[in-house]
């Protein structure tokens, strides 16, 4: 019994982080859904959810309750066991992948030596959830959707993997914490060293989470809802939770690898230290907006609620400001990297998600063969070339002593030239395909 207690004490930090992840993630996913609906509405000249709570702030809770109460239909000839386990596989894969990520210098569940590889590997297990879900609901539509999404995920994972390899060459290590530390030592984020790699990773990650222009499997207009057709009630919500967890995971990988994880922009240069105040400033601005909107709320309870929310934001602003005010050596001051690190990391993840949503509402959907052609004939060759480019840059920089200001831009231009050639070759082939469509 004693060893068990020692064991628990030794890892209580990780345990708390794990609990936070499992408990907070569904809530965060709910609020990402709200954010998405608000951003979508904003782009489409309308208001979005406004009724449940002031400005729809309580909408996610309402959605969750609704999904819980909804009838959970299992198709009669479905394979009950697999039908039940499929969404679970997806959700566990998503949440497990969160464990290796370093949200802040303190907030990391497991600093695995193979951190990034672990996240990508476990993410790949999510395919089982989708494929088995589509198959076990025994309807023709969901099977077609499941097969399509499996093919899409597999092909875009190669592209994402190679894009990550490109950045790993720079980092030299797989552990998420050390990657961010190397970016701190270099003083430059990898997005500037390998911009093509970042672009490929953005496109591949969108396809990998079945979103925006690549959301073929549940394309409403063709296959009704892809593999999720037969799911309803909370089981369907699990799939949705898995999708948003995957989105957060993919965004965190990009932040860790390319956008300097928990580093403040211009972390090194002291001239930009005023940026340290940015987190509390942002919180104060949000609190101000809540106060400004509070009196306008129609119902008295919503006024109160908004005031409480505003107070909350002021509290958070104070927390962020505290380590700056406190005397240098004190305990409070030492909390600065942890708190601010987490803030910057989550801010970058948030901006990345905003990019996801922005693309979703401006672009129509790719057709399946165009999607696969883009993946295999453009993205994967380009990512291979990108890996070679970065390798070349490293050789030039380290062996031949070129300054990194010349080596990396040169290779980036080289990769872009190759990208141009690939694109034109692809376009020529498209014309042929268009012709095929004609005479078939």
């Amino acid at each position: 019994m004693q060893t068990l207690i020692n064991f628990v004490i030794s890892i209580w930090v990780q345990l708390v982080c794990a609990l936070v992840i499992v408990a907070v993630l569904p809530l965060v996913a709910g609020y990402i859904v709200l954010m998405e609906r608000k951003v979508m509405a904003d782009m489409q000249a309308r208001l979005g959810p406004m009724r449940v709570g002031p400005h729809g702030l309580l909408q996610p809770i309402a959605d969750a309750v609704k999904l819980l109460l909804k009838e959970d239909i299992i198709p009669d000839e479905a394979d009950k066991g697999i039908f039940w386990i499929a969404p679970l596989i997806s959700v566990t894969a998503g949440m497990l992948a969160m464990s290796a990520l370093a949200i802040g210098p303190w907030f990391q569940i497991a600093d695995l030596n193979v951190g990034l590889l672990f996240v990508v590997g476990i993410g790949a297990l999510g395919i089982f959830g989708i494929v088995l879900g589509g198959w076990s609901s025994n309807s023709h539509y969901s099977l077609l959707g499941a097969l399509r999404s499996a093919a899409q995920l597999v092909s875009y994972e190669t592209a994402a993997g190679l894009a990550i390899v490109g950045a790993l060459l720079l980092a030299g290590t797989l552990s998420t914490r050390e990657i961010i530390e190397t970016q701190e030592d270099y003083g430059v984020w990898f997005v500037f060293a390998a911009p093509v790699g970042f672009f490929i990773y953005v496109v591949a990650s969108i396809a990998e989470t079945n979103r925006a222009p690549f959301d073929l499997p549940e394309a409403e207009s063709e296959l009704v809802a892809g593999y999720m057709t037969e799911y309803s009630g909370f089981r369907w919500a699990l799939y949705f939770l898995a999708e948003y967890t995957n989105m957060v995971v993919v965004a965190s990988i990009a932040t860790t690898l390319f956008l300097g994880g928990w580093l403040r922009p211009f972390a090194g240069t002291t001239a930009f230290n005023f940026l340290d105040g940015f987190p509390s400033l942002l919180m104060l601005v949000v609190a101000g907006y809540c106060f400004y909107r509070a009196p306008k709320q129609p119902v008295k309870i919503q006024k109160m609620f908004l005031v409480v929310v505003a107070g909350l934001f002021i509290l958070v602003a104070a927390i962020f400001a505290a380590p700056l005010m406190a005397p240098a050596g004190s305990l409070v001051a030492s909390a600065k990297p942890g708190l601010h690190g987490a803030f910057w990391f989550l801010l970058k993840v948030g901006l990345y998600l905003y990019l996801f949503m922005w693309l979703r509402f401006t672009f129509p959907r790719y057709r399946f063969d165009q999607l696969m052609r883009l993946g295999w004939q453009f993205l994967i060759p380009l990512s291979i070339v990108n890996v070679m480019g970065i390798g070349l840059a490293l050789v030039l920089h380290r062996q031949l002593g070129w300054s990194h200001w010349t080596a990396f831009p040169l290779t980036t231009i080289l990769t872009l030239v190759v990208a141009g050639m690939l694109a034109s070759a692809g376009a020529k082939k498209d014309k042929e395909h268009a012709v095929v469509g004609e005479e078939a």
Binding site: A219, S221, E222, F368, E438
Partner: protein, 380 residues
């Protein structure tokens, strides 16, 4: 473990990877069939090799009802056919009966009719653009289009009290005088509308994915378009420069200058371009018309009880979907002996089977969208 048979989509007549093809049923309840159209697609893997359209789910027997109503009583039924462009249905019917009577609507009535029909054409094309883009995955244009369409529906509501099935016209002229700030409303809508169309175009026309999804899809050559008697934007996109408003002007179309946009190779992209250009032209017509709406009576010399002399007439107008024709046979009584309505949506749909051969399932949705069919008109 009890014998647990793997039921594998046995009820649907499908064999997933068998040598023969799958029959995929895009049933009446499908989010993108613009109403209750059922399409039985024969697929070889993902490629469509044949199709059969099953229609009739919305058949209300309008032509049978017409034989038991007087001419005036039948006018509201006409709005329920192509419910997206009710005003132009009404115009077609009223002009056909006027021709049967040999009567003529006064100039002021004809000018107001032209303005309202052109506004209806813009509203119909806006609704088409919104749903067509939504089917192909672009979520945003739908809301922009509906925002503009709302303005037009407000004008209809102010004029005749109804937004959708307006029954705005009467045989022989108009029932209602144009409300006093009618010209101002139409101008307030038309002035900024050009920038709005540019706004849609900025979202879609040069968008690589949109072009990829529409160029070369559902090609209909000019010869085929004529053979299948396609009409409206579908035949103009195939390169045939023919518009009833120019060929056989009706209402007051001959008083205004406007172009007829045509496409080159008759694919979904050209039909999109043609309809966008048509919206611009309709705007020009409206602007020209409201500059000077002639004064005068709004109702021609048509008696209360309409008893047209026996005989028949075929009158066609350029509805947003294509040529909307009315073949009315009168036997001298107050009720039409036979009313046959030429539904442009149904006849454009005939070319559907030829257009989707060799394409993928995703294109079927785009092609249904580009034909701009409304099942109320297809099934009558």
């Amino acid at each position: 473990m009890a014998e647990q048979r793997i039921p594998f989509a046995t009820h649907a007549e499908t064999t997933v990877l068998g040598a023969d093809e799958i029959v995929l049923n895009m049933g009446p309840q499908h989010p993108s069939t613009h109403g209750v159209l059922r399409v039985k697609l024969r697929l070889d893997g993902e490629k469509v090799i044949g199709s059969e359209c099953v229609i009739g789910y919305l058949h209300r027997g309008v032509e049978k009802i017409a034989e038991h109503r007087t001419y005036t009583q039948f006018a509201p039924y006409v709005d329920r056919m192509d419910y997206v462009a009710a005003v132009s249905n009404g115009l077609g019917y009223c002009e056909a009966v006027e021709k049967l009577l040999g009567a003529e609507a006064p100039l002021r009535a004809r000018v107001i009719r032209t303005i309202l029909t052109e506004l209806q054409r813009i509203a119909s094309h806006l609704f088409w653009l919104g749903t067509h883009a939504l089917d192909i995955g672009a979520l945003t244009p739908l809301f922009y289009c509906l925002r503009e369409r709302e303005e037009i529906l407000k004008i209809f509501e102010k004029y005749c009290g109804a937004r959708l099935t307006t029954h705005a016209f009467r045989i022989g002229g108009l029932q209602y005088e144009a409300y006093d700030e009618f010209e101002k409303d139409v101008e307030r809508f038309c002035k900024p509308f050009d920038t709005r169309v540019n706004e849609y175009e900025s979202l879609l026309t040069s968008n690589r994915i949109w072009v990829g999804r529409t160029k070369g899809i559902g090609i209909l050559t000019a010869k085929e378009a004529i053979d299948y008697a396609a009409s409206g934007p579908v035949i103009r996109a195939s390169g045939v420069k023919w518009d009833i408003r120019k060929a056989m002007p009706y209402a007051a179309y001959d008083l205004y200058k406007f172009e007829i946009p045509t496409g080159k190779n008759g694919d979904t992209y050209d039909r999109y371009i043609v309809r966008m250009e048509e919206m611009r032209q309709s705007r020009l017509i409206c602007l020209q018309a409201i500059e000077n709406i002639p004064t005068g009576p709004i109702m021609g010399k048509v008696g209360k009880v309409l008893k047209p002399p026996p005989g028949e007439v075929y009158h066609a107008i350029e509805a947003p979907k294509g040529e909307l024709g009315y073949y009315i046979v009168s036997d001298g009584t107050t009720q039409p002996y036979r009313v046959r309505i030429r539904p442009p949506s149904l006849i454009n749909l005939e070319a559907f089977d030829k257009m989707i051969r060799g394409h993928l399932v995703a294109d079927v949705v785009a092609i249904i969208g580009t034909l701009d069919i409304v099942l109320g008109e297809v099934d009558r």
